[in-house]
């Protein structure tokens, strides 16, 4: 697993936030690939390789999903539930990355087996620090299950 590029699927409707994530992950030395979709439906299409994501070479199976909650078309929690209920997708770690600190969202997310729940900090250094920690943790230290099939 080490040395192989880590595929990260970023589901984020706010372009600015997507840009923040991209900048942080670009700064990371490890070889990785960040794929960005802007709504829940697109995320599911990617995961199930539907429509424009039919081609596997352009849409590799992600090792990690960074998921916002309030998304157009299909809600983030819905995407999470669909993934965790599907045996083929349930092992992919899902990190919730959202501005919402609402208790309902937290509870729902963990009920649906989210692997982590992060609230975007309003403060710049904190946000950067979170991004770095997130990168180290998930990209350097975390062991992903072998996805042979």
């Amino acid at each position: 697993m080490r040395g192989e590029p880590v595929v990260i699927l970023l589901v984020e409707d706010e372009p600015a936030h997507a840009e923040i994530v991209r900048r942080n992950f670009q700064g990371f030395r490890l070889a990785n690939r960040l794929i960005h979709v802007t709504d829940g439906e697109a995320a599911l299409n990617y995961l199930y390789r539907r429509d424009e994501f039919r081609d596997e070479s352009h849409s590799p199976r992600p090792n990690l999903v960074l998921l916002d909650l309030r998304l157009p078309k299909v809600d983030g929690l819905e995407v999470l539930r669909t993934m965790k209920e599907d045996p083929a997708l349930c092992r992919i770690p899902v990190v919730i990355l959202t501005t919402s600190a609402a208790e309902v969202d937290l509870v729902k997310a963990y009920e649906y087996h989210a692997n982590s729940y992060l609230v975007k900090p309003v403060d710049f250094p904190q946000f950067i620090s979170l991004m770095e920690t997130l990168g180290y943790y998930w990209l350097a230290w975390n062991e992903f299950p072998y996805e042979g099939v």
Binding site: D13, E14, A16, T38, P72, K73, P121, V122, F124, F127
Partner: protein
């Protein structure tokens, strides 16, 4: 409908009219009656006793008087005989007359003596008999034969040598009753051979009978009888007042004990009650006459003696009856007064009851709150009037029991309902909340309380409870819940959507600082672009939120306006963007007349038009149709486009606050939410029809409280 009657009967006067006399009055009446009757009786009894004593006294005094006089009379008669007894002169004369028939002087002298005795008036005839009882002289001079009774008795009298009485006898010559004084005549004053017997005959008709018959006071029936014993009979000696020819002929056996005459002969004395020879009831005084075989009976008919008593009795009875009637009337009057008061009070009570019943009904009608009562003994359920109104049922249509009642409950709530009923039985009280299906099929929400009813001994006899129609409340509650949900969604989205640009601004300010330090101009430009965009977005969000909050709060005066005008105004506001895309617009039925807050109404079409333009996509000939249609009683408005269309899966969500289907499209996700709120303000609803992506979409909505009238017609 027994149950309903039970409830309604409360307004009628309860029970049958009261007939019972109060015990106190009955007692008073009874005491009065007893007092009056016993006073009457005592008075009468006293009067009777004294009257009887009076009568007895009178009888006794008459009896005493007569007895004394009779005794005296007898004594006098014997005394008369004594004049001639052992009278030497008379004896000499009798001797001369007997033995010297020629001595006419002696005869004359003898006649002179005897004439003097007869002249005295007590004797009607004098006889002179020889010792053989042969008549020698008879005065007055008309010849008459001596009664054989006397002539036979002559030797006996001469033997005894004393003056004797011949009691009443019947003369065998003239068949009349006489009595006589018998005087033996002897030759010598101190004895010697008897010369003969002087008989002084008494006619009782002359003095004795009238004397006996005389009564000292006027009376219809009073009389005195003279009787003597004759063998085993009682013999009447005088002529009676009410029967003739009784002297020496009327006799009764002594065992006729009811006869006062028999009683006196047998030795009884004093006052007795009995029945006389006529069979009449009498009261009598019995006395024996001394030195004689005679007895005297002084009697008077009880009917006469007690006649005044009977009259007195009738007076008493009348008096007592009158007093009884008066006291009865008095008690009756008191009772009537009491009854009148009782009925008046009862009328007032029933009137008060009726009023309070009416108030209860009115209160129930106003509050839509009915009450019921379940009799556990017969499972009968009774309802108040409001209950029937609540259930939309007429009382005469149903006979209620628990089973029928349960059928009125909404099928889904029946189990709950049964559980609650059980809870009442177990806990004593419980709350109901269920739906009912009215007779007309309408479903209504009701809630209520039920509790057990116990009799004074604590035994459970039924249940009582209230039912209130809370459909209105339920609706309000649902609306409130919806509003709350919206508010929650609102705060949630605020916290998310407002925070989101803030995160952007802060983060890119951080980047900007770094990039300026590193003089990376390209990155600086990019950073500032993001910051700018986020700031713009926040401004727009805040503007629209403000606008949104004004809906339903800030209201312009309502005006009449046609659909065409509203559409035109909205079109003017989005004209720039429409011209950009070359959109063709068609307005149908522009004459539909509306009335309402004009700027607010314009916002509906404005937002829908903006939406349509936004999602026109790359349609080469975009077209938007605005119009209205009559469908049944409703006027449906529509805004139709031939743009991108909306996936049916998301059609519900488009009206949500801050809901955006495509993040790349400008806007905050407030536009359609705002339209929905305005539509709802006018009591309408909005929905979306779209066959899917690329097939265009059509927003339909109604504005019931704004539509005045709809007119046909198309204008371009």
């Amino acid at each position: 409908m027994a149950g309903a009657d039970l409830e309604h009967s409360l307004v009628k006067p309860p029970g049958p009219p009261r007939q019972r006399l109060p015990l106190g009055l009955i007692l008073i009446f009874a005491f009065l009656c007893a007092g009056i009757v016993s006073a009457g009786y005592l008075y009468y009894h006293g009067y009777e006793t004294s009257h009887r004593q009076e009568v007895e006294k009178q009888l006794i005094s008459v009896g005493d008087l007569k007895v004394a006089e009779l005794a005296q009379w007898r004594k006098e008669r014997l005394g008369d005989g004594g004049i001639f007894f052992r009278n030497t002169a008379f004896s000499t004369l009798v001797g001369r007359y007997y033995y010297q028939p020629t001595d006419l002087e002696a005869q004359r002298e003898l006649e002179s003596w005897l004439s003097k005795v007869l002249a005295y008036g007590q004797y009607d005839r004098a006889f002179l008999l020889d010792p053989q009882g042969i008549e020698r002289l008879s005065l007055p001079l008309q010849p008459e034969r001596i009664a054989s009774v006397i002539s036979q008795r002559t030797p006996e009298i001469l033997e005894t040598g004393a003056v004797a009485f011949q009691d009443f006898f019947r003369d065998d010559q003239d068949q009349r009753v006489y009595m006589a004084v018998l005087v033996p005549i002897f030759d010598l004053p101190d004895g010697g051979p008897p010369l003969g017997l002087l008989v002084l005959r008494i006619d009782p008709e002359q003095y004795l009978y009238p004397f006996i018959n005389r009564w000292p006071t006027p009376s219809q029936t009073a009389e005195t009888l003279l009787v003597r014993r004759d063998g085993s009979d009682v013999l009447y000696l005088n002529e009676l007042r009410f029967q003739k020819d009784t002297a020496l002929t009327l006799r009764y056996p002594l065992d006729r004990q009811e006869l006062p005459a028999a009683k006196v002969v047998l030795g009884e004395k004093g006052i007795v009650d009995g029945t006389d020879y006529r069979g009449a009831s009498v009261i009598a005084d019995l006395q024996a006459i001394p030195n004689s075989p005679w007895f005297l009976v002084a009697r008077i008919d009880a009917a006469e003696a007690f006649g005044p008593l009977v009259a007195q009795l009738w007076v008493m009875i009348f008096l007592v009856a009158a007093l009884l009637f008066c006291s009865g009337a008095g008690v009756g009057f008191v009772w009537r007064q009491q009854n009148t008061r009782f009925y008046r009070e009862r009328f007032q009570a029933s009137e008060a009851l009726r009023q309070s019943e009416a108030s209860l009904q009115r209160a129930e009608a106003i509050g839509h709150l009915g009450h019921w009562r379940l009799n556990l003994a017969n499972e009968q359920l009774s309802w108040s009037e409001e209950m029937y109104r609540l259930y939309g049922i007429r009382p005469e249509d149903f006979t209620f029991n628990y089973a029928v009642f349960t059928r009125l409950v909404h099928p889904e709530d029946r189990d709950d309902f049964d559980q609650t009923t059980l809870a009442i039985q177990k806990e004593g009280t419980a709350l109901f909340a269920y739906r009912i299906v009215r007779a007309d099929g309408e479903i209504r929400y009701v809630s209520g309380t039920g509790e057990l009813e116990r009799d004074p001994s604590g035994k459970v006899v039924g249940m009582f409870g209230t039912v209130q129609d809370v459909t209105g409340l339920q609706q309000k509650e649902r609306e409130l819940q919806e509003k709350n949900a919206e508010l929650e969604r609102f705060t949630y989205t605020i916290s998310h959507d407002l925070k989101s640009p803030l995160v952007t601004v802060k983060t890119f300010l951080g980047y900007l600082k770094e990039d300026l330090a590193h003089s990376e101009e390209e990155r600086v430009e990019q950073d500032m672009g993001y910051i700018h965009g986020a700031a713009d977005k926040m401004t727009q969000l805040l503007d629209e939120l403000l606008e949104m909050s004004r809906i339903g709060r800030v209201v312009n005066p309502p005006v009449r306006v046609e659909l065409g005008e509203l559409a035109q105004e909205a079109l003017n506001m989005v004209a720039g963007r429409m011209a950009e895309k070359g959109v063709e617009v068609l307005v149908e039925n522009p004459n539909v007349l509306l009335k309402g807050d004009r700027p607010r109404l314009v916002e509906i079409w404005q937002n829908l038009l903006e939406n349509a333009v936004k999602f026109a996509g790359d349609q080469p000939s975009p077209r938007i149709e605005i119009g209205a249609q009559e469908r049944g009683p409703e006027t449906l408005f529509f805004v139709r486009d031939n743009g991108l269309g909306i996936d049916p899966r998301f059609q519900e969500r488009v009206f949500n606050l801050f809901e955006k289907l495509d993040p790349r499209i400008e806007g905050t996700g407030l536009g359609l939410a705002m339209v929905k709120r305005i539509v709802e303000l006018y009591g309408g609803k909005i929905w979306l029809e779209s066959k899917g992506l690329g097939k265009g979409s059509c927003f339909w909505f109604t504005l019931p409280q704004a539509v005045l009238q709809a007119r046909e017609g198309v204008s371009k």
